[in-house]
Protein backbone atom coordinates (compact mmCIF):
# COMPACT_ATOMS: atom_id res chain seq x y z
CA UNK A 1 0.00 0.00 0.00
CA UNK A 2 1.54 3.34 -1.00
CA UNK A 3 2.23 5.52 1.99
CA UNK A 4 1.13 8.78 0.42
CA UNK A 5 -2.33 7.41 -0.22
CA UNK A 6 -2.56 6.65 3.40
CA UNK A 7 -1.53 10.15 4.36
CA UNK A 8 -4.18 11.65 2.12
CA UNK A 9 -6.89 9.33 3.27
CA UNK A 10 -10.03 11.06 4.34
CA UNK A 11 -10.36 8.99 7.45
CA UNK A 12 -12.26 10.97 10.03
CA UNK A 13 -10.62 9.06 12.82
CA UNK A 14 -8.89 11.56 15.02
CA UNK A 15 -11.41 14.29 14.47
CA UNK A 16 -14.14 11.81 15.10
CA UNK A 17 -12.59 10.68 18.32
CA UNK A 18 -11.94 14.15 19.66
CA UNK A 19 -14.82 16.23 18.36
CA UNK A 20 -17.26 13.80 19.78
CA UNK A 21 -15.64 13.97 23.11
CA UNK A 22 -17.84 16.72 24.48
CA UNK A 23 -20.90 14.84 23.40
CA UNK A 24 -19.60 11.75 25.11
CA UNK A 25 -18.94 13.39 28.43
CA UNK A 26 -22.41 14.86 28.40
CA UNK A 27 -24.01 11.56 27.64
CA UNK A 28 -22.03 9.57 30.10
CA UNK A 29 -23.41 11.34 33.10
CA UNK A 30 -26.82 10.01 32.11
CA UNK A 31 -25.63 6.46 32.14
CA UNK A 32 -25.85 4.21 35.13
CA UNK A 33 -22.50 3.02 36.33
CA UNK A 34 -22.28 -0.71 35.81
CA UNK A 35 -20.42 -2.57 38.47
CA UNK A 36 -19.72 -5.71 36.53
CA UNK A 37 -16.11 -6.57 36.58
CA UNK A 38 -14.81 -8.16 33.44
CA UNK A 39 -11.67 -9.83 32.35
CA UNK A 40 -11.01 -12.39 29.67
CA UNK A 41 -10.63 -15.20 32.14
CA UNK A 42 -12.55 -14.16 35.18
CA UNK A 43 -11.19 -17.11 37.10
CA UNK A 44 -7.66 -15.76 36.92
CA UNK A 45 -8.68 -12.73 38.90
CA UNK A 46 -11.03 -14.44 41.26
CA UNK A 47 -10.37 -13.49 44.82
CA UNK A 48 -10.83 -16.51 46.99
CA UNK A 49 -13.27 -15.80 49.78
CA UNK A 50 -12.34 -17.00 53.21
CA UNK A 51 -13.59 -20.49 53.86
CA UNK A 52 -13.65 -21.56 50.21
CA UNK A 53 -12.52 -25.12 49.86
CA UNK A 54 -8.99 -25.33 48.53
CA UNK A 55 -7.52 -28.34 46.79
CA UNK A 56 -3.93 -29.33 46.44
CA UNK A 57 -2.52 -29.89 42.98
CA UNK A 58 0.76 -31.19 41.70
CA UNK A 59 2.21 -29.57 38.61
CA UNK A 60 4.45 -32.22 37.09
CA UNK A 61 7.05 -30.69 34.83
CA UNK A 62 8.17 -32.81 31.87
CA UNK A 63 11.28 -31.56 30.13
CA UNK A 64 13.14 -32.32 26.92
CA UNK A 65 16.81 -33.37 27.01
CA UNK A 66 17.77 -29.84 25.85
CA UNK A 67 16.08 -28.34 28.90
CA UNK A 68 18.02 -30.65 31.20
CA UNK A 69 21.21 -29.74 29.35
CA UNK A 70 20.46 -26.02 29.82
CA UNK A 71 20.92 -26.48 33.54
CA UNK A 72 24.64 -26.44 32.95
CA UNK A 73 24.49 -22.89 31.58
CA UNK A 74 25.74 -19.89 33.57
CA UNK A 75 22.16 -18.93 34.44
CA UNK A 76 21.92 -15.91 32.15
CA UNK A 77 19.94 -17.74 29.45
CA UNK A 78 16.30 -16.77 28.97
CA UNK A 79 14.89 -20.17 29.98
CA UNK A 80 16.54 -19.94 33.38
CA UNK A 81 15.52 -16.28 33.66
CA UNK A 82 11.92 -17.18 32.90
CA UNK A 83 11.98 -19.91 35.53
CA UNK A 84 13.44 -17.55 38.11
CA UNK A 85 10.60 -15.09 37.48
CA UNK A 86 7.97 -17.85 37.45
CA UNK A 87 9.19 -19.16 40.76
CA UNK A 88 8.98 -15.70 42.26
CA UNK A 89 5.43 -15.27 40.97
CA UNK A 90 4.50 -18.69 42.40
CA UNK A 91 5.85 -17.90 45.83
CA UNK A 92 4.25 -14.44 45.92
CA UNK A 93 0.87 -15.84 44.89
CA UNK A 94 0.48 -17.35 48.35
CA UNK A 95 -0.72 -20.62 46.79
CA UNK A 96 2.66 -22.29 46.55
CA UNK A 97 3.30 -25.11 49.03
CA UNK A 98 6.41 -26.89 47.81
CA UNK A 99 8.39 -27.78 44.77
CA UNK A 100 11.75 -28.94 43.56
CA UNK A 101 13.59 -29.79 40.42
CA UNK A 102 14.76 -33.39 40.03
CA UNK A 103 18.24 -34.39 38.96
CA UNK A 104 18.62 -35.40 35.32
CA UNK A 105 16.85 -38.64 34.31
CA UNK A 106 20.10 -40.60 33.82
CA UNK A 107 20.73 -40.32 37.56
CA UNK A 108 17.56 -42.29 38.27
CA UNK A 109 17.61 -45.91 39.33
CA UNK A 110 14.45 -47.97 39.01
CA UNK A 111 13.65 -50.93 41.19
CA UNK A 112 11.12 -53.75 40.79
CA UNK A 113 10.51 -56.94 42.71
CA UNK A 114 9.42 -59.72 40.37
CA UNK A 115 8.61 -63.13 41.82
CA UNK A 116 10.79 -62.34 44.77
CA UNK A 117 13.68 -61.26 42.61
CA UNK A 118 15.03 -57.75 42.68
CA UNK A 119 15.34 -56.05 39.33
CA UNK A 120 17.42 -52.91 39.38
CA UNK A 121 17.60 -50.81 36.26
CA UNK A 122 19.77 -47.82 35.45
CA UNK A 123 17.81 -44.80 34.42
CA UNK A 124 14.22 -43.60 34.76
CA UNK A 125 11.08 -45.70 34.88
CA UNK A 126 9.78 -44.77 31.43
CA UNK A 127 11.88 -44.49 28.31
CA UNK A 128 10.32 -41.38 26.80
CA UNK A 129 11.70 -38.24 25.22
CA UNK A 130 10.16 -35.94 27.80
CA UNK A 131 11.12 -36.83 31.34
CA UNK A 132 9.89 -35.71 34.72
CA UNK A 133 12.17 -32.83 35.64
CA UNK A 134 10.50 -31.41 38.71
CA UNK A 135 7.26 -30.78 40.54
CA UNK A 136 5.33 -28.00 42.21
CA UNK A 137 2.64 -28.43 44.84
CA UNK A 138 0.01 -25.68 45.04
CA UNK A 139 -3.14 -25.07 47.02
CA UNK A 140 -5.86 -23.59 44.82
CA UNK A 141 -9.65 -23.29 44.60
CA UNK A 142 -10.02 -25.19 41.33
CA UNK A 143 -8.45 -27.11 38.49
CA UNK A 144 -9.02 -24.01 36.35
CA UNK A 145 -6.73 -22.01 38.59
CA UNK A 146 -4.13 -24.77 38.49
CA UNK A 147 -4.24 -24.80 34.69
CA UNK A 148 -3.67 -21.05 34.67
CA UNK A 149 -0.47 -21.61 36.61
CA UNK A 150 0.53 -24.47 34.34
CA UNK A 151 0.10 -22.21 31.31
CA UNK A 152 2.51 -19.67 32.80
CA UNK A 153 5.18 -22.28 33.40
CA UNK A 154 8.10 -21.70 31.01
CA UNK A 155 8.32 -25.44 30.36
CA UNK A 156 4.76 -25.48 28.96
CA UNK A 157 6.18 -23.93 25.79
CA UNK A 158 8.98 -26.47 25.35
CA UNK A 159 7.97 -29.64 27.20
CA UNK A 160 4.73 -30.34 29.02
CA UNK A 161 3.11 -29.69 32.37
CA UNK A 162 0.70 -32.22 33.82
CA UNK A 163 -1.72 -31.01 36.45
CA UNK A 164 -2.87 -33.67 38.92
CA UNK A 165 -4.87 -33.25 42.09
CA UNK A 166 -3.29 -34.77 45.18
CA UNK A 167 -5.40 -37.58 46.63
CA UNK A 168 -6.08 -36.86 50.31
CA UNK A 169 -8.66 -39.66 50.48
CA UNK A 170 -6.10 -42.23 49.38
CA UNK A 171 -3.69 -40.88 51.95
CA UNK A 172 -6.34 -41.03 54.63
CA UNK A 173 -6.78 -44.78 54.00
CA UNK A 174 -3.20 -45.45 54.95
CA UNK A 175 -2.67 -42.99 57.75
Amino acid sequence: MPTDRYLDADIPQFACACLKFLEISQNLSKWPIPTRHTFKRAKALKIVPLGEILMQFALLIYELPEAFAARKSDGTDSYTGAWRAYHKALVESGSYLAGDPLEVPETGTTLRLKEGKRLVQDGPFADTKEQLGGFIIMELPSLDAALDWAARCPTAATGAVEVRPLAPAAKHRIT
Binding site: A9, I11, A17, K20, H37, K40, R41, K43, D144
Partner: protein, 409 residues
Protein backbone atom coordinates in the same frame (compact mmCIF):
# COMPACT_ATOMS: atom_id res chain seq x y z
CA UNK B 1 -18.93 -38.76 -9.36
CA UNK B 2 -15.32 -37.82 -9.74
CA UNK B 3 -12.97 -36.65 -7.00
CA UNK B 4 -13.08 -32.95 -7.72
CA UNK B 5 -16.89 -33.00 -7.92
CA UNK B 6 -16.96 -34.67 -4.56
CA UNK B 7 -14.60 -32.07 -3.23
CA UNK B 8 -16.72 -29.21 -4.46
CA UNK B 9 -19.77 -30.83 -2.85
CA UNK B 10 -17.87 -31.03 0.41
CA UNK B 11 -16.94 -27.40 0.08
CA UNK B 12 -20.56 -26.52 -0.61
CA UNK B 13 -21.65 -28.38 2.51
CA UNK B 14 -18.96 -26.65 4.52
CA UNK B 15 -20.06 -23.27 3.25
CA UNK B 16 -23.74 -23.89 3.97
CA UNK B 17 -22.86 -25.25 7.38
CA UNK B 18 -20.76 -22.21 8.14
CA UNK B 19 -23.35 -19.71 7.00
CA UNK B 20 -26.46 -21.46 8.19
CA UNK B 21 -25.39 -23.29 11.32
CA UNK B 22 -26.36 -20.59 13.79
CA UNK B 23 -29.57 -19.74 11.99
CA UNK B 24 -30.67 -23.37 11.90
CA UNK B 25 -29.78 -24.08 15.53
CA UNK B 26 -31.46 -20.85 16.59
CA UNK B 27 -34.60 -21.63 14.66
CA UNK B 28 -34.85 -25.23 15.80
CA UNK B 29 -34.15 -24.48 19.43
CA UNK B 30 -36.15 -21.27 19.80
CA UNK B 31 -39.38 -23.25 19.61
CA UNK B 32 -38.30 -25.99 21.95
CA UNK B 33 -35.54 -24.41 24.08
CA UNK B 34 -33.71 -27.68 23.49
CA UNK B 35 -30.38 -26.46 22.13
CA UNK B 36 -28.61 -29.79 22.55
CA UNK B 37 -31.20 -31.70 20.53
CA UNK B 38 -31.23 -28.97 17.90
CA UNK B 39 -27.47 -29.31 17.52
CA UNK B 40 -27.64 -33.09 17.36
CA UNK B 41 -30.41 -32.91 14.80
CA UNK B 42 -28.44 -30.49 12.68
CA UNK B 43 -25.30 -32.59 12.77
CA UNK B 44 -27.38 -35.60 11.70
CA UNK B 45 -28.70 -33.49 8.84
CA UNK B 46 -25.17 -32.52 7.84
CA UNK B 47 -24.13 -36.17 7.83
CA UNK B 48 -27.15 -36.94 5.65
CA UNK B 49 -26.13 -34.13 3.30
CA UNK B 50 -22.62 -35.54 3.04
CA UNK B 51 -24.18 -38.83 1.95
CA UNK B 52 -26.86 -37.51 -0.38
CA UNK B 53 -25.45 -34.44 -2.07
CA UNK B 54 -22.43 -35.94 -3.84
CA UNK B 55 -24.83 -38.28 -5.72
CA UNK B 56 -27.92 -36.07 -6.10
CA UNK B 57 -26.12 -32.77 -6.44
CA UNK B 58 -26.39 -29.80 -4.12
CA UNK B 59 -30.08 -28.91 -3.78
CA UNK B 60 -31.48 -25.62 -5.01
CA UNK B 61 -32.04 -24.36 -1.49
CA UNK B 62 -29.49 -26.19 0.65
CA UNK B 63 -30.58 -24.43 3.82
CA UNK B 64 -34.18 -25.58 3.44
CA UNK B 65 -32.95 -29.10 2.70
CA UNK B 66 -30.91 -29.09 5.91
CA UNK B 67 -33.79 -27.66 7.89
CA UNK B 68 -36.15 -30.38 6.68
CA UNK B 69 -33.65 -33.11 7.46
CA UNK B 70 -32.78 -31.59 10.83
CA UNK B 71 -36.42 -31.24 11.78
CA UNK B 72 -37.11 -34.84 10.94
CA UNK B 73 -34.14 -35.92 12.99
CA UNK B 74 -35.19 -33.61 15.80
CA UNK B 75 -38.60 -35.25 16.03
CA UNK B 76 -36.97 -38.68 16.11
CA UNK B 77 -34.55 -37.57 18.80
CA UNK B 78 -37.20 -36.08 21.04
CA UNK B 79 -39.50 -39.05 20.53
CA UNK B 80 -36.67 -41.44 21.21
CA UNK B 81 -35.69 -39.71 24.39
CA UNK B 82 -39.34 -39.67 25.50
CA UNK B 83 -38.69 -36.48 27.36
CA UNK B 84 -41.63 -35.81 29.71
CA UNK B 85 -45.07 -34.81 28.53
CA UNK B 86 -43.95 -31.24 28.17
CA UNK B 87 -42.36 -32.15 24.90
CA UNK B 88 -45.68 -33.25 23.37
CA UNK B 89 -46.74 -29.70 22.44
CA UNK B 90 -43.27 -29.30 21.00
CA UNK B 91 -43.77 -32.28 18.74
CA UNK B 92 -47.15 -31.01 17.72
CA UNK B 93 -45.65 -27.66 16.91
CA UNK B 94 -42.92 -29.17 14.85
CA UNK B 95 -45.36 -31.33 12.90
CA UNK B 96 -47.54 -28.36 12.08
CA UNK B 97 -44.62 -26.17 11.15
CA UNK B 98 -43.35 -28.85 8.89
CA UNK B 99 -46.24 -28.47 6.54
CA UNK B 100 -46.16 -24.71 6.48
CA UNK B 101 -42.72 -23.36 5.82
CA UNK B 102 -40.49 -25.98 4.37
CA UNK B 103 -39.14 -24.07 1.45
CA UNK B 104 -40.10 -20.58 2.50
CA UNK B 105 -37.73 -18.28 4.34
CA UNK B 106 -37.54 -19.08 8.01
CA UNK B 107 -37.06 -16.36 10.62
CA UNK B 108 -33.59 -15.50 11.86
CA UNK B 109 -33.66 -16.32 15.55
CA UNK B 110 -29.93 -15.93 16.12
CA UNK B 111 -30.44 -12.76 18.12
CA UNK B 112 -32.67 -14.63 20.57
CA UNK B 113 -30.09 -17.38 20.74
CA UNK B 114 -27.32 -14.89 21.50
CA UNK B 115 -29.38 -13.45 24.34
CA UNK B 116 -30.09 -16.93 25.66
CA UNK B 117 -26.37 -17.77 25.64
CA UNK B 118 -25.61 -14.66 27.69
CA UNK B 119 -28.64 -15.01 29.95
CA UNK B 120 -28.06 -13.98 33.59
CA UNK B 121 -29.22 -17.43 34.73
CA UNK B 122 -26.25 -18.98 32.90
CA UNK B 123 -22.86 -18.88 34.60
CA UNK B 124 -21.08 -15.92 33.00
CA UNK B 125 -17.94 -17.96 32.32
CA UNK B 126 -20.06 -20.09 29.96
CA UNK B 127 -21.56 -17.26 27.91
CA UNK B 128 -18.76 -17.19 25.36
CA UNK B 129 -18.31 -20.98 25.03
CA UNK B 130 -22.07 -21.37 24.49
CA UNK B 131 -22.08 -18.75 21.74
CA UNK B 132 -19.10 -20.25 20.01
CA UNK B 133 -20.74 -23.64 20.00
CA UNK B 134 -24.39 -22.88 19.29
CA UNK B 135 -24.05 -19.95 16.91
CA UNK B 136 -20.81 -20.86 15.15
CA UNK B 137 -20.72 -24.62 15.59
CA UNK B 138 -17.24 -24.81 17.14
CA UNK B 139 -16.56 -28.13 18.83
CA UNK B 140 -16.04 -28.45 22.56
CA UNK B 141 -12.40 -29.49 22.26
CA UNK B 142 -11.41 -26.36 20.38
CA UNK B 143 -13.30 -24.15 22.79
CA UNK B 144 -11.61 -25.98 25.66
CA UNK B 145 -8.13 -25.20 24.32
CA UNK B 146 -8.97 -21.52 24.06
CA UNK B 147 -10.38 -21.35 27.58
CA UNK B 148 -7.63 -23.40 29.13
CA UNK B 149 -9.81 -26.17 30.50
CA UNK B 150 -9.78 -29.85 29.64
CA UNK B 151 -11.97 -30.89 26.69
CA UNK B 152 -13.95 -33.27 28.90
CA UNK B 153 -14.68 -30.55 31.43
CA UNK B 154 -15.71 -28.07 28.74
CA UNK B 155 -18.01 -30.69 27.22
CA UNK B 156 -19.67 -31.29 30.58
CA UNK B 157 -20.06 -27.58 31.28
CA UNK B 158 -21.67 -27.01 27.88
CA UNK B 159 -24.08 -29.88 28.44
CA UNK B 160 -24.99 -28.53 31.87
CA UNK B 161 -25.60 -25.04 30.49
CA UNK B 162 -27.82 -26.39 27.72
CA UNK B 163 -29.81 -28.47 30.18
CA UNK B 164 -30.37 -25.33 32.18
CA UNK B 165 -31.62 -23.52 29.09
CA UNK B 166 -34.04 -26.35 28.36
CA UNK B 167 -35.30 -26.99 31.87
CA UNK B 168 -34.79 -23.64 33.51
CA UNK B 169 -37.50 -21.76 31.68
CA UNK B 170 -35.13 -19.43 29.88
CA UNK B 171 -37.14 -17.70 27.18
CA UNK B 172 -35.98 -17.34 23.62
CA UNK B 173 -36.74 -13.67 23.21
CA UNK B 174 -35.15 -10.32 22.69
CA UNK B 175 -35.26 -8.57 26.07
CA UNK B 176 -37.65 -5.71 26.75
CA UNK B 177 -36.38 -2.18 26.41
CA UNK B 178 -36.03 -1.79 30.16
CA UNK B 179 -33.53 -4.61 30.58
CA UNK B 180 -32.02 -4.38 27.14
CA UNK B 181 -28.87 -2.35 28.00
CA UNK B 182 -27.78 -4.79 30.68
CA UNK B 183 -28.66 -7.90 28.70
CA UNK B 184 -26.99 -6.54 25.58
CA UNK B 185 -23.92 -5.74 27.62
CA UNK B 186 -23.59 -9.42 28.54
CA UNK B 187 -23.79 -10.40 24.86
CA UNK B 188 -21.15 -7.84 23.87
CA UNK B 189 -18.97 -8.89 26.77
CA UNK B 190 -19.09 -12.52 25.68
CA UNK B 191 -18.17 -11.68 22.10
CA UNK B 192 -15.32 -9.47 23.27
CA UNK B 193 -14.07 -12.24 25.54
CA UNK B 194 -13.78 -14.54 22.52
CA UNK B 195 -11.82 -11.85 20.73
CA UNK B 196 -9.56 -11.24 23.72
CA UNK B 197 -8.72 -14.90 24.09
CA UNK B 198 -8.02 -15.23 20.39
CA UNK B 199 -5.87 -12.12 20.61
CA UNK B 200 -3.81 -13.24 23.57
CA UNK B 201 -3.32 -16.77 22.34
CA UNK B 202 -2.01 -15.68 18.98
CA UNK B 203 1.48 -16.88 19.68
CA UNK B 204 2.53 -17.10 16.06
CA UNK B 205 2.85 -20.87 15.76
CA UNK B 206 -0.70 -21.66 16.70
CA UNK B 207 -3.36 -20.59 14.26
CA UNK B 208 -6.31 -21.35 16.51
CA UNK B 209 -6.04 -18.07 18.38
CA UNK B 210 -6.17 -16.10 15.22
CA UNK B 211 -9.21 -18.00 14.09
CA UNK B 212 -10.98 -17.34 17.37
CA UNK B 213 -10.46 -13.59 16.97
CA UNK B 214 -11.90 -13.86 13.48
CA UNK B 215 -14.86 -15.82 14.80
CA UNK B 216 -15.48 -13.05 17.31
CA UNK B 217 -15.47 -10.43 14.57
CA UNK B 218 -17.87 -12.60 12.62
CA UNK B 219 -20.15 -12.73 15.68
CA UNK B 220 -19.86 -8.96 16.00
CA UNK B 221 -20.95 -8.58 12.38
CA UNK B 222 -23.87 -10.95 12.87
CA UNK B 223 -24.99 -8.97 15.90
CA UNK B 224 -24.70 -5.69 14.01
CA UNK B 225 -26.78 -7.10 11.19
CA UNK B 226 -29.44 -8.03 13.75
CA UNK B 227 -29.25 -4.81 15.79
CA UNK B 228 -28.06 -2.14 13.36
CA UNK B 229 -29.19 0.77 15.52
CA UNK B 230 -27.37 -0.14 18.74
CA UNK B 231 -24.37 2.14 19.13
CA UNK B 232 -22.44 -0.17 21.44
CA UNK B 233 -22.70 -3.02 18.94
CA UNK B 234 -20.90 -0.82 16.43
CA UNK B 235 -18.50 0.29 19.13
CA UNK B 236 -17.51 -3.30 19.83
CA UNK B 237 -17.04 -4.07 16.15
CA UNK B 238 -14.94 -0.91 15.71
CA UNK B 239 -12.79 -1.88 18.68
CA UNK B 240 -12.16 -5.38 17.39
CA UNK B 241 -11.40 -4.15 13.88
CA UNK B 242 -8.93 -1.57 15.15
CA UNK B 243 -7.03 -4.28 17.04
CA UNK B 244 -7.27 -6.68 14.13
CA UNK B 245 -5.77 -4.03 11.84
CA UNK B 246 -2.50 -4.25 13.78
CA UNK B 247 -2.17 -8.00 13.78
CA UNK B 248 0.64 -8.17 11.24
CA UNK B 249 2.65 -5.50 13.03
CA UNK B 250 2.49 -7.23 16.41
CA UNK B 251 5.14 -9.80 15.60
CA UNK B 252 8.57 -9.34 14.17
CA UNK B 253 10.80 -11.90 12.49
CA UNK B 254 10.87 -15.22 14.37
CA UNK B 255 7.68 -14.31 16.16
CA UNK B 256 9.28 -11.61 18.29
CA UNK B 257 6.79 -9.55 20.29
CA UNK B 258 6.54 -5.89 19.31
CA UNK B 259 4.69 -3.54 21.67
CA UNK B 260 2.22 -1.06 20.22
CA UNK B 261 4.56 1.90 20.67
CA UNK B 262 7.24 0.25 18.56
CA UNK B 263 5.03 -1.12 15.81
CA UNK B 264 5.56 0.04 12.26
CA UNK B 265 2.27 1.81 11.71
CA UNK B 266 2.58 1.45 7.95
CA UNK B 267 2.05 -2.25 8.45
CA UNK B 268 -1.37 -1.67 9.95
CA UNK B 269 -4.26 -2.61 7.70
CA UNK B 270 -5.76 0.52 6.27
CA UNK B 271 -9.04 -1.06 5.07
CA UNK B 272 -9.70 -2.43 8.56
CA UNK B 273 -8.92 0.92 10.18
CA UNK B 274 -11.23 2.66 7.75
CA UNK B 275 -14.00 0.21 8.43
CA UNK B 276 -13.50 0.60 12.17
CA UNK B 277 -13.66 4.38 11.82
CA UNK B 278 -16.88 4.22 9.83
CA UNK B 279 -18.53 2.13 12.53
CA UNK B 280 -17.25 4.36 15.29
CA UNK B 281 -18.45 7.52 13.56
CA UNK B 282 -21.83 5.93 12.96
CA UNK B 283 -22.00 4.81 16.59
CA UNK B 284 -21.11 8.21 17.96
CA UNK B 285 -23.68 9.90 15.73
CA UNK B 286 -26.34 7.94 17.54
CA UNK B 287 -25.55 9.77 20.72
CA UNK B 288 -25.59 6.87 23.14
CA UNK B 289 -22.07 6.27 24.28
CA UNK B 290 -20.72 3.36 26.22
CA UNK B 291 -17.71 1.37 27.18
CA UNK B 292 -16.96 -0.22 23.83
CA UNK B 293 -17.21 3.05 21.92
CA UNK B 294 -14.78 4.63 24.36
CA UNK B 295 -12.35 1.75 24.02
CA UNK B 296 -12.67 1.97 20.25
CA UNK B 297 -12.05 5.73 20.46
CA UNK B 298 -8.81 5.05 22.35
CA UNK B 299 -7.75 2.66 19.60
CA UNK B 300 -8.78 5.26 17.04
CA UNK B 301 -6.34 7.75 18.55
CA UNK B 302 -3.59 5.12 18.39
CA UNK B 303 -4.49 4.46 14.75
CA UNK B 304 -4.01 8.15 14.03
CA UNK B 305 -0.26 7.58 14.43
CA UNK B 306 -0.26 5.99 10.98
CA UNK B 307 -1.06 9.42 9.55
CA UNK B 308 0.48 11.91 11.95
CA UNK B 309 3.44 9.89 13.17
CA UNK B 310 2.68 10.73 16.78
CA UNK B 311 0.37 9.56 19.53
CA UNK B 312 -1.97 12.10 21.11
CA UNK B 313 -1.73 10.85 24.68
CA UNK B 314 -3.75 13.73 26.09
CA UNK B 315 -6.73 12.56 24.03
CA UNK B 316 -6.22 8.96 25.12
CA UNK B 317 -6.09 10.07 28.72
CA UNK B 318 -9.40 11.91 28.38
CA UNK B 319 -11.06 8.80 27.04
CA UNK B 320 -9.61 6.67 29.82
CA UNK B 321 -10.93 9.07 32.42
CA UNK B 322 -14.42 8.65 30.98
CA UNK B 323 -13.97 4.90 30.66
CA UNK B 324 -13.01 4.51 34.27
CA UNK B 325 -16.22 6.17 35.34
CA UNK B 326 -18.38 3.58 33.60
CA UNK B 327 -16.12 0.53 33.63
CA UNK B 328 -13.58 0.61 36.46
CA UNK B 329 -12.05 -2.79 35.73
CA UNK B 330 -8.51 -3.73 36.57
CA UNK B 331 -7.67 -3.64 32.86
CA UNK B 332 -9.08 -0.14 32.42
CA UNK B 333 -7.30 1.16 35.50
CA UNK B 334 -3.99 -0.28 34.36
CA UNK B 335 -4.47 1.25 30.90
CA UNK B 336 -5.35 4.54 32.55
CA UNK B 337 -2.11 4.47 34.55
CA UNK B 338 -0.13 3.90 31.35
CA UNK B 339 -1.88 6.82 29.66
CA UNK B 340 -1.26 9.08 32.66
CA UNK B 341 2.41 8.14 32.54
CA UNK B 342 2.66 9.03 28.86
CA UNK B 343 0.78 12.29 29.24
CA UNK B 344 2.12 13.50 32.60
CA UNK B 345 5.23 11.49 33.30
CA UNK B 346 6.07 8.14 34.92
CA UNK B 347 5.70 9.38 38.49
CA UNK B 348 2.09 10.38 37.95
CA UNK B 349 1.43 7.03 36.29
CA UNK B 350 2.98 5.16 39.18
CA UNK B 351 0.77 7.05 41.62
CA UNK B 352 -2.29 5.78 39.72
CA UNK B 353 -0.96 2.22 39.95
CA UNK B 354 -0.28 2.63 43.65
CA UNK B 355 -3.92 3.53 44.22
CA UNK B 356 -5.03 0.08 43.02
CA UNK B 357 -5.57 -2.45 45.78
CA UNK B 358 -2.54 -4.72 45.84
CA UNK B 359 -4.61 -7.78 46.70
CA UNK B 360 -6.43 -7.62 43.38
CA UNK B 361 -3.33 -7.39 41.19
CA UNK B 362 -1.23 -10.29 42.45
CA UNK B 363 -2.18 -12.41 39.42
CA UNK B 364 -2.74 -9.64 36.88
CA UNK B 365 0.19 -9.60 34.47
CA UNK B 366 -0.37 -6.25 32.68
CA UNK B 367 -0.26 -4.38 36.00
CA UNK B 368 3.24 -5.67 36.71
CA UNK B 369 4.41 -5.05 33.16
CA UNK B 370 3.32 -1.40 33.27
CA UNK B 371 4.72 -1.00 36.77
CA UNK B 372 8.09 -2.43 35.73
CA UNK B 373 8.22 -0.14 32.72
CA UNK B 374 7.49 2.99 34.78
CA UNK B 375 9.95 2.10 37.54
CA UNK B 376 12.61 1.53 34.92
CA UNK B 377 11.93 4.92 33.38
CA UNK B 378 12.37 6.45 36.82
CA UNK B 379 15.71 4.70 37.19
CA UNK B 380 14.54 2.63 40.16
CA UNK B 381 16.40 -0.42 38.96
CA UNK B 382 15.98 -2.91 41.82
CA UNK B 383 12.24 -2.22 42.17
CA UNK B 384 11.84 -2.41 38.40
CA UNK B 385 13.63 -5.77 38.27
CA UNK B 386 11.27 -7.08 40.92
CA UNK B 387 8.19 -5.94 39.01
CA UNK B 388 9.64 -7.36 35.78
CA UNK B 389 10.00 -10.72 37.48
CA UNK B 390 6.37 -10.68 38.51
CA UNK B 391 5.32 -9.74 34.95
CA UNK B 392 7.55 -12.42 33.42
CA UNK B 393 6.41 -15.05 35.88
CA UNK B 394 2.75 -14.33 35.14
CA UNK B 395 3.12 -14.19 31.35
CA UNK B 396 1.73 -17.04 29.29
CA UNK B 397 3.02 -16.05 25.88
CA UNK B 398 6.68 -17.09 25.43
CA UNK B 399 7.26 -14.12 23.08
CA UNK B 400 6.03 -11.67 25.71
CA UNK B 401 8.19 -13.42 28.30
CA UNK B 402 11.23 -13.09 26.07
CA UNK B 403 10.50 -9.42 25.43
CA UNK B 404 10.21 -8.65 29.13
CA UNK B 405 13.34 -10.63 29.96
CA UNK B 406 15.31 -8.49 27.51
CA UNK B 407 13.81 -5.30 28.90
CA UNK B 408 14.63 -6.38 32.41
CA UNK B 409 18.27 -6.75 31.47
Amino acid sequence: MNGSGQESTHRAIERVARESYGRLVAYLSSQTRDVASAEDALSNALVAALKAWPGDGVPQNPEAWLLTAARRSFIDLVRHRRVVEASEPTLQLLREEREVSLSAEFPDDRLKLLFVCAHPAIDSSMHTPLMLQTVLGLDAARIAHAFLVSPKTMGQRLVRAKTKIRDGGIQFEVPQERELPQRLDAVLEAIYAAFGIGWDDMAGVDQSGRELAEEAIWLGRVLLQLMPSEAEVRGLLALMLHCEARRRARRGPEGRYIPLSEQDSQQWSRPLIEEAERHLAEALSRGRTGRFQLEAAIQSVHAERARSGRTEWAAILLFYEQLIRISPTLGTRTGHAAAVAEARGPEAGLAVLDAIDLGSVSGYQPYWAVRAHLLQRLGKTPEAADAFDRAIGLAEDPAVREFLLQRRG
